[in-house]
């Protein structure tokens, strides 16, 4: 069979045989598959015939062929990118015949006598570099010229930002907003306030709603829930205090906790736990004290009292711990 019978679209590597039809429906599935494969091989061969005869360039990975544009037209995935409308300044500049001139990035700064950037950080004529502003006749008394300069700059920046937003809005209307920019609506500012309120997020609203729901005598326990309303988020206590009194179970938890912290602290400084110098010092001081005590023993006989005191203390402690258990 010749290739004229087949429609070939090399752009998609597609071949189509519109003339073929089965003279008699194949009796079994194997026959059908066999016939299809045979016909398919023919078509594939005819694609290959045209494809391999295209001029090719040798590459390390194999011969490269430049495919012709496809003849079967397929729909686009997204609309064509729309041209950006001119900004207000661009319109004005066109009307007035103003053309962009290229400016140097670096400018000589007379204040400091060096070359500096035109814009941005550490730029020419930076506010911080101006030590003196000469007084003029028009100056008002009691006005800080430096503060005025700064305020003017701030105003200019704000105005530019406003213009930018206006231009973006204009572009959004046509649907030609740059892909990475989104214009999000915020809540209307309350009259009288200067700043626009921040947009309240869904989570914040839910929190507020659940907080308001608990403002009944029962703490919101018996309230009817609206369809779709979620149960309040924070139920019950936030923070638990462990019992201070020692005991078993939870009672011993407090001790464990403090021990854990202590162990951590001690193990952290374990390498310096034995200060040899200090130990020797202490030993020496003790020795000295003993010697002194021996000298003054004759006058005072308080040594017998000391062990008694300790006994009393111990008994007291035991008493309290027992009480704690009984509770």
């Amino acid at each position: 069979m010749g290739t004229q019978e087949h429609q070939i679209d090399l752009g998609h590597l597609l071949a189509f045989d519109p003339l073929h039809h089965f003279p008699s429906p194949p009796s079994s599935r194997e026959e059908l598959v066999k016939e299809c494969l045979q016909k398919g091989t023919e078509l594939v061969q005819s694609i290959a015939d045209t494809l391999f005869n295209l001029p090719s360039t040798e590459d390390i990975d194999g011969p490269l062929v430049k495919l012709p544009p496809p003849t079967t037209r397929l729909p686009r995935e997204k609309h064509l990118p729309k041209p950006k409308p001119p900004t207000k300044w661009e319109l004005f500049a066109k009307a007035k015949g103003i053309k962009n001139r290229k400016k140097d990035k670096i400018v000589y700064d007379e204040q400091t006598g060096t070359w500096k950037r035109r814009h941005g950080y550490d730029r020419v004529n930076d506010d911080e570099d101006i030590p003196i502003i000469e007084a003029k006749m028009t100056d008002e008394a009691g006005e800080d010229p430096f503060a005025k300069r700064q305020a003017e700059k701030k105003k200019r920046v704000e105005k530019q930002e406003k213009n930018r937003l206006q231009n973006l809005k204009q572009a959004a209307k046509v649907g030609a907003l740059p892909s990475h920019i989104q214009l999000a609506a915020t809540a209307l500012p309350i009259t009288g306030t200067q700043t626009a309120p921040k947009k309240v997020s869904k989570n914040e609203l839910e929190d507020v709603a659940s907080m308001a729901a608990t403002a009944t005598a029962s703490g919101g326990k018996f309230d009817k829930k609206l369809p779709g309303e979620k149960p309040e988020k924070h139920k019950g206590k936030y923070r638990k205090f462990l019992p201070v009194v020692e005991g078993t179970g939870i009672g011993s938890l407090e001790k464990q906790q403090t021990e854990k912290i202590l162990n951590k602290l001690i193990s952290k400084n374990s390498h310096e736990i034995l200060n040899v110098d200090r130990a020797i010092n202490m030993y020496n001081v003790k020795k000295e004290k003993k010697r002194k005590n021996r000298q003054g023993k004759d006058s005072s006989t308080s040594s017998k009292l000391k062990p008694k005191k300790q006994l009393q203390k111990k008994s007291l402690k035991k008493g309290t711990s027992k009480k704690g258990k009984s509770k």
Partner: protein, 315 residues
């Protein structure tokens, strides 16, 4: 009040820019998903379609309750998924008593449904059931050959539509330059009757024939199935006209450092970096010219003499 929202990180910005409409598009992604009920056959079909298109497909494995592409209101969540995953072809599987093993293949334009074709799957044979030499197994992402056989694809309206949709689904990445060594598989679709299409996937064996063109041999590698056309919806005429628009002029790449001159013609600018005389390799490697030696010598000359003198003084 309006607020300007921009991505906070460079990566996010690049990701968004990838999704922006382009003058020349580079291929569509496929979303593969199913309804509340599927059959074993359908699960296998969806899995294998995903397998064939692994480089440019997204597979949703959860049940989707309210997707009914042909009914009004049943396409909203589908359109949302298309927007979310940036896919513009979808393959949706569902199984019911009325329409067993149902497969809806559709396309979207601007994340709105463009057209739909509904087919039933019959006589499905999975990839695993075919035995062949594994050396022939097609690679992921290679460009396939596609062959359509039968007059049905031209005379019957539904099949004509199915052909276009299948072509878009199967064609793979849109490329300008093709490596001939990478050709390894072909899809064969045959119109058996007015509503039945036999679909199979074959590997190609390129054999020497004595000429430039190799002799092709097809080996069935699966999956293979019968697609029975059920319902279909053609695109709206106005939408179709809109979607078929192409850019007239191709975007030209900016050529740097080349300019045209009236007198000299084409002028190119070449950047020549400063000559690094110190690090140039010398033709003959004389020992005395080695840098370390020279430097060491210089060091010795300056450092060593002073301490020696001091020693003498001290003694």
């Amino acid at each position: 009040m309006l607020k300007i929202k921009t991505p906070k990180s460079g990566k996010a910005k690049r990701e968004i820019e990838k999704r922006a409409p382009k003058l020349v598009e580079s291929g569509k992604k496929t979303l593969i998903l199913q309804g509340t009920k599927t059959s074993n056959v359908l699960n296998a079909v969806l899995a294998e379609i995903y397998h064939l298109k692994k480089d440019s497909a997204v597979r949703y494995t959860r049940k989707n309750e309210n997707i009914r592409p042909f009914e009004s209101g049943g396409e909203t969540s589908l359109e949302f998924f298309s927007l979310k995953t940036d896919c513009s072809i979808f393959v949706f599987g569902s199984h019911s008593k009325k329409r067993p093993d149902n497969l809806v293949i559709g396309r979207t334009y601007d994340h709105h449904i463009y057209d739909l074709v509904e087919v039933g799957v019959e006589n499905f044979k999975s990839m695993e059931s075919f035995t062949y030499d594994k050396k022939l197994a097609p690679k992921v992402g290679s460009k396939p050959f596609i062959a359509f056989i039968g007059e049905g694809f031209e005379s019957v309206d539904e099949l004509k539509h199915l052909k276009e949709v299948l072509l878009e689904l199967l064609r793979g990445e849109v490329v300008e330059n093709l490596n001939l060594a990478g050709l390894d598989h072909a899809y064969i679709c045959t119109a058996v009757s007015s509503n039945r299409v036999f679909f199979t996937h074959c590997a190609m064996r390129l054999k020497k024939s004595g000429t430039i063109v190799p002799r092709m041999e097809l080996v069935e590698v699966g999956p293979s199935m019968d697609l029975v056309v059920r319902r279909h919806r053609l695109p709206n005429d106005s939408v179709r006209k809109e979607a078929m628009k192409t850019a007239k002029e191709q975007p030209k790449k900016k050529v740097k450092n080349v300019s045209q001159d009236v007198i000299q013609g084409k002028v190119g600018k070449i950047y020549v970096p400063d000559q690094q005389v110190g690090s140039v390799a010398l033709p003959n490697k004389a020992k005395g010219l080695k840098r370390e030696r020279r430097e060491a010598k210089m060091k010795h000359e300056t450092n060593d003499r002073a301490p020696k003198k001091q020693k003498e003084n001290s003694e």
